[in-house]
Symmetry: D2
Subunit: 348 residues, 4 copies
C-alpha cells in the first residue's frame, strides 16, 4: 500500500533485461555508440518524424536544459503555478537559463489556458526593455494534478504562443500516462499539436534513470549538445541510458506499464467514490487526489498505507478541504497491484 510516488518504484523486468544484455563489451563513449544510434531511430519511429534526442540525468535537467535552448536575456517562461519547474526544481530552470523569470499562471485542474497565457504575456509588451521579454511557455502532460491536456487545449496554447513567437515546451515526466489516457499517438500529442521540445520521462514509468530532451525541429536542436555538456549532463557510458530505453520501448512495454498504472488509479478513484469520497481533480492519469477526513487519514497511516499530503489551496472555494479534511496524493505505478489498491480501499 505504498502510493508515495512513481519514482519510488524500481525498474521493470524488460528494462533490467536490456541493461544486463548490454552490460559487457566495449562501446564508444559519450553517445557515439551504436546502441544510442539505434534507440534514437526508435524515437524517430515512435514520433513518426526525425527527432533529435539528448539523454540527460534527470527530469529537472531535461526541463531546464530544454528551456535554456530558447533563453533570452530578461526572458519570461510561462507555466502553471503548480508546475514542477516552478515549484519543485530548486531554481534549476532559472539557473540553467541564465536567470530567466518563471511567470506562474493559475488555472483549474493544473492546466493553463490559452487566454490566461495571452493575458500573462501582456505584462511583457514587445520592445519595452524594463519588463523583459517573452521567451517560452511550458505545459506538463500529464499535469501535477493528475489531469491531461486535450489535443485541442494544446493546440490553443500553441496558437497563443505563436502570436508572440515563443516555443512550446512539454514536461513529459509522465508522458506515457497521458498518452494512454488520451489514446492518441506520440506524434499527435506533441509536434502535431504544436510542441517544439519535449522532456521525455521514462524514469517514473519503469526505468532507473532514463530522461531525454526531444526536439522535433532539427534547427532548434542546433548546438544543444553544448548546453547539455556545459551543465555536466553528457553521460560517458551513454549506452546504459540507451539500454534502458531499448528495454522500455521493447514490445510496447512502456505503454503497458502506463496503462496498468492508470488502471490502478481508476480503481482507486472508483473505490473512493464508492465510499462517498471525492477527489480534488478528475482522475485522468496515474494520480489520485482524494480529499478525506483527517481521522481516516490517520487510520490509513496506522495501517501502513504510505502517501503524501498535498496542498489543495488552488481549488475554488467550496471545493477546498474543510478544516477537518486533508488532500492526499496517491500515485500508482507499473508495479502497483490490484491487491495494494483493494487493501487500501478496504481500510477506507
Amino acid at each position: 500500500m505504498n502510493f508515495s510516488s512513481d519514482n519510488w518504484a524500481g525498474a521493470t523486468a524488460s528494462v533490467m533485461e536490456a541493461l544486463n544484455r548490454h552490460s559487457t563489451g566495449l562501446a564508444s563513449a559519450y553517445g557515439a555508440d551504436p546502441l544510442t544510434a539505434d534507440v534514437t531511430r526508435t524515437f524517430s519511429a515512435i514520433f513518426e518524424r526525425d527527432v533529435s534526442v539528448y539523454f540527460v540525468a534527470t527530469g529537472t535537467a531535461a526541463n531546464a536544459l530544454a528551456l535554456s535552448a530558447f533563453a533570452r536575456p530578461g526572458g519570461a517562461v510561462f507555466c502553471h503555478s503548480d508546475s514542477h519547474i516552478q515549484v519543485d526544481e530548486c531554481g534549476c530552470p532559472e539557473f540553467l537559463t541564465g536567470g530567466e523569470k518563471l511567470v506562474p499562471i493559475n488555472g483549474a485542474d493544473g492546466k493553463i489556458t490559452a487566454d490566461a497565457l495571452r493575458n500573462a504575456m501582456k505584462a511583457f509588451p514587445e520592445g519595452v526593455v524594463h519588463h523583459g521579454q517573452v521567451a517560452s511557455v511550458s505545459i506538463t502532460q500529464s499535469t501535477e494534478c493528475g489531469t491531461v491536456y486535450t489535443l485541442d487545449e494544446i493546440r490553443a496554447i500553441k496558437a497563443a504562443a505563436d502570436e508572440r513567437g515563443i516555443p512550446l515546451h512539454m514536461d513529459g515526466a509522465r508522458f506515457a500516462s497521458a498518452l494512454v489516457s488520451l489514446g492518441v499517438t506520440p506524434a499527435e500529442m506533441t509536434w502535431m499539436a504544436g510542441v517544439d521540445v519535449l522532456s521525455f520521462g521514462a524514469t517514473k514509468n519503469g526505468c532507473w534513470c532514463a530522461e531525454a530532451v526531444v526536439f522535433f525541429n532539427p534547427e532548434q536542436a542546433k548546438g544543444f549538445e553544448y548546453f547539455r555538456k556545459r551543465a555536466g549532463h553528457l553521460f560517458s557510458k551513454s549506452r546504459f541510458v540507451a539500454a534502458q530505453f531499448e528495454g522500455y520501448f521493447a514490445d510496447d512495454s512502456w505503454l503497458g506499464s502506463a496503462a496498468h498504472a492508470n488502471e490502478m488509479a481508476q480503481r482507486l478513484a472508483e473505490g473512493i467514490r464508492r465510499t462517498g469520497g471525492r477527489t480534488a481533480w478528475p482522475v485522468e492519469a496515474n494520480e489520485v487526489f482524494p480529499i478525506l477526513p483527517q481521522e481516516k487519514v490517520s487510520r490509513l497511516r496506522e495501517a501502513g498505507a504510505m502517501f503524501y499530503e498535498w496542498p489543495a489551496d488552488g481549488l475554488p472555494e467550496g471545493s477546498r478541504p474543510s478544516g477537518e479534511e486533508v488532500c492526499l496524493r496517491l500515485v500508482a505505478n507499473f508495479a502497483t497491484t490490484p491487491e495494494d489498491v483493494d487493501c487500501f480501499l478496504e481500510l477506507l
Copy 2:
C-alpha cells in the same frame, strides 16, 4: 585490442549483480532510501572519517559542482593546463561556478607543483579587485598523463593553498588507479594529505554511472544539496547509483579492478620498452602514452587496434615526438585481458 578509453567499458559483474538485486520494490526517492544511507556509511568506513557524499550524474558535474561550493565573485581556480576541467568539460566549471576563471598552470608529467601554484596565485593579490580573487585549486589523481601525485606532493600543494586560504579539490575520475599505484589508504591520499573535497569516480573503473562528490568536512558540505539540485543532478531513483557503489565496494572489487587495469598498463609499457619504444610520461596508473613512428601506428590501426592520438606539446624539447612520430594514449580497464595486450605488443 581496444585501448580507446576506460569509459568504453561496461559494468563489472559485481556492479551488475548489485543492480539486479536492488531493481525491484519501493524505496524512498531522492536519496532518502536505506541503500543510499548504507553506501554513505561504507564511504565513511573507507575514508576512516564521517564524510558527506553526494551522487551526481557525471565526473564533469562532480568537478564543477565541487568547485561551485567554494566559488567567489571574480574567483580563480588553479589547475593543470591539461586537466579535464580546463580542457574537456565544455566550460561546465565556469558555468556552474557562476563564471569563475580557470587559471591553467603548466607542469611536468601532468602535475602542478606547489611553487608553480604560488607563482600563479601572485597574479591575484589580496584586495586588488581588478584581478579577481583566488578561490580554489584542483589536482587530478591519477593525472591526465597517467602519472600519480605522491602524498608529499599533495601535502606541499595544500600548504601553498593554505597560505592563501583556498581549498584543495581532487578530481578522482581515476581515484582507484592512483590509490593502488601508491599503495596507500583512501584517507592518506585525501584528507590526511589536505584534500577538502573529492570527485570520487567509479564509472571508469567498472560502474555504469556512479560519481560522487565527497566532502571531508561537514561544515564545507553545508547547503551543497542545493547546488546539486539547482544543476539538475539529484537523481530521483538515487538507489540505482547506490546499488552500483555497493557492488563496486563489495569484497574490495574496486581495488581489484584498478589493480588489474594498472597491471595491464605496466604490461603494455614493458612491452613497448622491450621493442625499443619510449613513453611520453612515466606509467604509474592505467594509461600508457607511447611515442611511436607514424607508420607503426598506421599498421596497428590496420590490424584493428583502437586508441586515440594524444597531444604531447607539453613535453620538453627533445622529448617531443619528431615529425615522423606520434603520441598515442592507451587506456587499460578492468576488462582488458593479457591477450589484448600481448596481441597489441606483437603487432608492434
Copy 3:
C-alpha cells in the same frame, strides 16, 4: 506640466556646482580618491553609524547587486508584486544573483505585510531541497504606489525575516521622499528598524547618476567590491559620483528637494480631491495616482500635460477604475513648480 517621472528631471544647482568644482585635477581612480572617502564619511554621519558605501551605475544595479551579496543556490527573494525588482528590471536581480527566484507577494498600497511574508516563506520549508530556500526580503521605500512604510511596519517585516534568518533589503530609489514624509532620521528608517542593506538612490531626487549600495554591518559588506566589479559597476572616475553626492548632501539640499517634491504631490492631491476626484492610493510621497474619467485624461493630454497611465488591477474591487476611467501616475520632482501643478489642476 510634465509629470512623467522624476528621472526626467536634470540635476540640481547644488549637484552641478559640485560637479564643476571637482572637474579638473588628478585623483586616484576606482574610488581611492579623497573625495570618495569624504563622501563615505558623510554617509556614516548621516546614518549615525559606520556604513560601507558602494557607488553603482543605476538603481537596478544597486538592487540586484545588494541581493546578490545574500544569494543562495535555489534562493527565493520575497518582494511586492508591483516592486521595481519584480516588474521593471528586466531580470537583472535574477541574473546577478545567479538565478534566484523572485517571489511576488500581493499587498494593499504597494506594501507587503509581515504576515504575508511569513505565509509566502512557508512554501520554502527548511531543508526541503526541491522548493529551494529563502534568501532575502526586499521592500521599497517609498513604494511604487507612492505610499510609505511606517517604522512599525518595517520592524514587523524584519521580525518575520529574522524567524527564517534572512536579511532585509530596502530599495530606496525614493529614499528621501519617504524620509521627509515620515519625519524620521535615516538611521531610524534603516538599520534601527532592521534594514541590512539599502539601495540609496539620489538620481531621481536631483543627481545625474548617483546610486549607492549601503551596508550597515561591515561583516555583510565583506567582498562586496568583487560583486560590483564583476558586474562592471566600478566607475574608474569614481569621484564624479562622489561629487554629486557632495552637492546632494550639502546644506541638506537633498531633504529640501524631497520636501518640495512631496509638497507638490500634496498640492496635486488636494486639487484633485477638490474637484471630486479620487486617488488609487494614499499620497504619502512624491507620486499621485488619480483615477480620472477617460475624456478628462484626453483633454489633459491635448493641453500638453504629460504623464503615464498606470495599472490599477491590484486595487480591491469597487475601488478599481471603471470602464470609463483610467488611473494616471503623476510624479513631482525637485524642479516641479506650483505653477505646473496649478495649471494642471485648472485644466482638470
Copy 4:
C-alpha cells in the same frame, strides 16, 4: 608629474560645458531623449555608417556586454594574455557571458597575430563538444602596451576569425589615441577592417563617464538592449552620458585631446631615449613603458613623480628588466602639460 593613469584625469572643458548646458529641464528617461538621438546620429556620421550605440557605465561593462551578445555555451573568447578583459576585469566577461572561457594568447608588443589566433582556435575543433566552441575574438586598440594595431594586422585577424565564423570585438578604451596615432578614419579602423563590435571609450580621454558599445551591423545589435538592461547598465538619465559625448565630439575636441596626450607620450619617450634609457615597447599611443634602474625610480618617487610599476615578464629574454631594473608605466592624458613632462625628464 602624475603619470599614474589617464583615468585619474577629470573632464575637459568642452565636456563640462555640455554637461552644464543640458543640466536642467525635463527629458525622456532611458535613452528616449532627443539628445541621445542626436549623439547617436553623430556616431553614425563619425563612422560613416548607421551604427547602433548603447551607453553603458564602464569600459569593463562595454567589453563584457559586447562579448555577451555573441556568447555560446562552452564558448571561448580569444584575447591577448595582457588584455584588460583577461587581467583587469575581475571575471566580468566570464560572468556576463554566462561563463565563457577567456583563452589568453601571447604575442609581442601586446598584440595577437592572425596565426597565433588560428593556432589557439585549433584547440576547439568544430563539433567536439568536450572542448567547447569558438565564440569571439577581442583585440585592444591601442593595446595595454601602448602600441597600435595596423589596419593590415586587424584585417588579418578578421580573416582568421572568419575562417571559424566568429566576430571581432575591439576594446577601444583608448580608441582615440590609436586613431590619431594611425592617422586613419574611425571607419577605416573599425568596420572597414572587419570589426563587428566596438567598446568606444571616452572616459580616459576627457569624459567623466562615457562609454558606449557600438555595433556596425544592426542585425548583430538585435536584442542588445536586453543584455544591457539585464546587467543594470541602462542609465535612467541617459542624457547626461549623451551630453558628455556631445562635448567630447564638439569641434573634434576628442581628437585634439588624444593628439595632445600622444604628443606628451612622445616627448617622454624621446627624453628617456636621450638619457640613454629604453622602453619595453614602441611608444605609439599615450603610454610609455621605460625600463629604469631601481635607484632612479626611487629618486623619481621621492621627488614626487607618480606612476605604477608594470610587469614586463612578457618581454623576450634579453629585453626583460635586469635584477636592478624595473619597468614603469607612464600615462599621458589630455591635461598633461609639457612642463610635467620636462620636469620628469629633468629628474631622470
